[in-house]
Symmetry: C2
Subunit: 490 residues, 2 copies
């Protein structure tokens, strides 16, 4: 951890007034450049004791910078609305876009400090998992265009007590002291220890904490401003130097996925009856009281014309339209591109008791973006880990996550393309891009193999569905979805 | 109300198979054109008995159209998260952008039907208010680029009972019948009456209901598809013919707002002490238990350099950063322009217990957009009523809404511009547009007069703040905010 801001001598008023204007000028200039270039975003986490100047620091930043491109987020751990979604949902939903700055008051650290302070024994495992989640999250942001600047404001126990006493003396300032502050002051040592552990556990190269001494307001302001300027300038320099490496060529060969039903074609009569039976089973599962405490994410991937849409409609026709959402995923819009790539999926994560069905997913990163070269090799290669972490987040919250790869043969795909071309009603379904993708069929297969090998986890498994027979595929999808939900509900 | 879809003869399978393909072709073509032109959005509300084919209709639309530009929303009235925000928040947050279609399962009518059915006596006034709100909302959407298509599926009592009996007979289909459906079937007449009243109360020119007979599935599908096609084609024709009328010239003259403090300049000592006292009062108010059941929206308008930012910072410095959000409002982005103009403000409405402070607001419509001619006369002229309705929505939910007009004289404004120009740190604050706006000072004054005259309501009042003396203005803002909150909390 970097501690360059600690132990400085107090700043005189004259010193402060001399050094501040150039700092503010530099900050404004850096912010302007950042806005113009839109090459990175900045998330600033400000933690520390309230009496060390937490609020004051954020307020000063708002005064120094152009506030039009800044958001301040104060996320209350107790907010009911947040418990409806996975913990990280609220951070994803407030991320700054490239060119923008967001200040997070306590940020995602409150998820760690609060329980660690108030229930120190009970929460050992919870704390460790929370710190791991924070490390993963910050690493993911850093690698995806969001710089993270962390500042922790410190103050010693004696001065903290003095400040509180001073404020409480006068009617005019007594309101400034909350119950939380007094609690923290009474438990200064414990709070310091917990914080220290959190800081040590989350300091990584490029993600160091800035410890800022809150003893003297002028030194504090100047130190905080300097740290912010440094982060902005590093962001600008880094993005100027940034060149995307070429993707590695896809080379090795693997056995293709099965595409035909192992038991042969499904008969029409059997299909009709079995479909109705499975839909009933699925509908009843989704209506079970226990399901309301969970919810599900069903993800569909597969080559064009593999039958994703048809399989999805068989699922949804069993559900009340109030309970599900189908999310068709296309190429990202310019707005979506200005955020980390998982951002646009977090927006569609279901509440408890609901079902989100993704027609194409976050796996686009390691499929189309990899094969077509839309993502740099280092970007899609690290995506496996990021995706596993993302799905773990969801399942830890209680969501049931299951993924389907609809496997269609090259021959059957061609047959379906031609059929669509002939059928005026389906012709909108064939995109010129589909033919380009078809030429890359083998590379897609390879990418899919690697994807499944690396992301078929216990908490979020894949099912490969032999999709040359549409009826077989639809039944298998429904049956698997039922089995998975039954298993998780117990 | 239009009833062309009722009383048709059942359609034979042959008839259906003959008429369907041309209908689907026409629907796809219309959807494509709508997407390309992006001149309007379509919100389709589907209500009616479940056994009349509500779900089936929405599912068919998804099959017939290109689903990539469609969203289906099923809004559960019981959802906790919704009670955190005003009722209409969830509809605003799911509106389709121009070029897109959204289906609303029961839509905003569930807010009316549910209480009217289950608590018929208690809710008379509530029902009337809800219907009024629906009328206003639909009118606002229609005038702001969102076409509204309403379909109600009917079925007679006998057939409804038969269908339910039939479905319940077999294990395979029993799951299709929910408790709600059985309740509705038992109370067929009452439900029909309530629905009928709702339909009559909300049928307006251009917002007629399509009553669709659900007796025969094929007639139903065809009727629903025809109604959808009609809505799409009307939307396309209308937008092609649409020409914005020229804004009326601003002419009449009014007495200017006061700009100097009535009691003379505020002395520094008094200011410091009074500011601290008021901040304490404000902070304590925001922390009162009762405030957690309310929340506040504080809106700031005024000419450039009127001191909005400074006044806002004096308010926020009294608050815990977790409790408030400052929302700086700039010119709308292209994304924002593809929605009705109030959409971007709904997104920032606070939850209960929180405070949203708007630095410029939805009044831009009747200020800058009027004066500069960015909005057509008919658009800004009807905005007064729409804004009053919007603010009433907020206050009915319990939010405290107060609006400040910071009134600065032409001379003082010039002095501040020049001061900013000299001060390097503040130079980013002066935009070339500010000088253009300054030339239109008198027209802004006139627009502001009319704005306050038309929107100074009991539930959401304006306070004109004499802002030539910054210190006086800041104290008056803080004092007024305190008084208003105290008054509302009782």
């Amino acid at each position: 951890m970097s501690t360059p801001m600690l132990g400085r001598k107090p700043m005189t008023k004259e010193q402060y007034e001399r050094v501040l204007p150039p700092l503010r000028n530099a900050l404004l200039a850096a912010q302007k450049r950042m806005q113009d270039e839109k090459s990175f975003a900045l998330a600033v986490v400000v933690t520390g004791r309230p009496t060390a100047g937490r609020s004051e620091t954020v307020n000063e930043f708002l005064e120094w910078l152009d506030p039009k491109h800044i958001r301040v987020h104060a996320l209350d751990k107790l907010r009911k609305v947040s418990r409806t979604w996975p913990v990280m949902w609220r951070y994803w939903n407030t991320l700054p876009a490239r060119g923008q700055i967001a200040f997070y008051f306590m940020g995602w650290y409150e998820d760690y400090t609060s329980p660690a302070l108030t229930q120190p024994k009970k929460s050992q495992r919870h704390s460790e998992r929370t710190l791991e989640r924070i490390r993963q999250f910050e690493a993911l942001l850093t690698r995806n265009g969001v710089r993270v600047l962390k500042m922790h404001l410190t103050i010693d126990a004696k001065l903290e007590r003095e400040r509180i006493r001073e404020l409480r003396k006068s009617k005019l300032t007594r309101w400034r002291v909350t119950g939380e502050e007094r609690w923290l002051a009474r438990h200064h040592d414990r709070a310091t220890k917990v914080t220290q552990q959190g800081i040590e556990a989350t300091s990584r190269p490029g993600l160091e904490w800035n410890l800022i001494d809150g003893t003297d307001p002028q030194s504090r302001s100047f130190a905080a401003g300097t740290a912010l300027l440094d982060a902005l300038e590093k962001g600008i320099r880094k993005s100027a130097a940034n060149k995307a490496p070429k993707p590695k060529p896809v080379s090795s060969k693997r056995r293709p996925f099965p595409t035909s039903p192992p038991e042969g074609r499904v008969e029409d009569d059997f299909y009709d009856e079995e479909l109705e039976r499975l839909r009933g089973r699925f509908a009843l599962l989704a209506r079970r009281g226990k399901f309301a405490r969970h919810g599900a994410v069903l993800a569909f991937e597969g080559m064009d014309a593999a039958g994703k849409g048809g399989a999805i409609r068989r699922l949804t026709s069993a559900l009340d339209a109030r309970q599900y959402n189908v999310i068709p995923v296309s190429a990202p819009t310019p707005e979506e591109l200005s955020y980390p790539y998982l951002w646009r999926f977090w927006r569609h994560i279901p509440q408890r008791g609901e079902i989100s069905i993704f027609d194409r997913t976050w796996y686009g990163r390691v499929l189309v973006e990899r094969v077509r070269g839309f993502a740099a090799a280092e970007d899609w290669q690290r995506a496996y880990g990021e995706i596993n972490e993302f799905e773990q987040e969801l399942t830890e919250h209680g969501l049931i996550v299951h993924k389907f790869w609809l496997s269609v043969s090259k021959e059957e795909q061609l047959r379906r393309f031609e059929e669509r071309d002939k059928d005026e009603l389906k012709s909108y379904k064939v995109d010129p891009q589909d033919w380009v993708n078809r030429k890359l069929y083998d590379q897609y297969q390879l990418a899919a193999h690697e994807m499944i090998a690396r992301t078929d986890t216990e908490h979020a498994p894949w099912t490969v569905v032999e999709a040359d027979d549409k009826k077989y595929a639809r039944l298998k999808v429904l049956r698997t979805a039922c089995e998975q939900i039954e298993q998780r509900l117990g």
